[in-house]
Assembly symmetry: C2
Homo-oligomer: 125 residues x 2
Amino acid sequence: MKALLLIAHGSNRQESNQEIQVLAEKLAVASCGFDLVQCAFLELTQPSIPSALEDLVRHGADDITAIPYFLAAGRHVVTDIPEQLNGFMETHKDITIRQTAYIGQANGIVDMLLDLLASGVEVSS
Amino acid sequence: MKALLLIAHGSNRQESNQEIQVLAEKLAVASCGFDLVQCAFLELTQPSIPSALEDLVRHGADDITAIPYFLAAGRHVVTDIPEQLNGFMETHKDITIRQTAYIGQANGIVDMLLDLLASGVEVSS
């Protein structure tokens, strides 16, 4: 069973974490080829990456795609997330986890910024 | 003179910070209605937000649009960045700074994630 794990940084601000939950729900609605969609947080809030992975496996996932919801390849993307994913795979030999590109690598980031500037939307929280 | 300030978190990993520099250069090439485009970092690297703002003002900017390159409205977007922008304006009464929406608020984030998943791009650093 295929699952998608959306991995965000996590915040002390619960409204921020809820944005990620809502985004994961939107991805689930879009279905996008996955049977299960879940989010996880690297720091500051729950579910942690191992906890979310355990949850997915408990629901039958054995082929997990992890997408880092990060804008640049800092330590979190390059070291912390791979370490946690690899650590989980070491103790769950029958589970495959692949880490995709982070969102900052997506085509269209420049156009998205230009659209945002053109829309003149003020910050909301 | 109108200027755009792209504000990112900043990393201990210089390759990560260079991604932001490259993105600011792409925005400058796209011109997008600004005479000057600069990036700044909240933490861990330079230029800081006040330092980048000083630089823009020294080059003639008096109308600055600050766009937070952040995915969710955590403490950085809601508190830290506004505090620094307001602090600068208090000591530079002739300068206008507006903070726009952060990139996580942009329309099209879900589609961008779906495209990223469809492309199957593996993480690079």
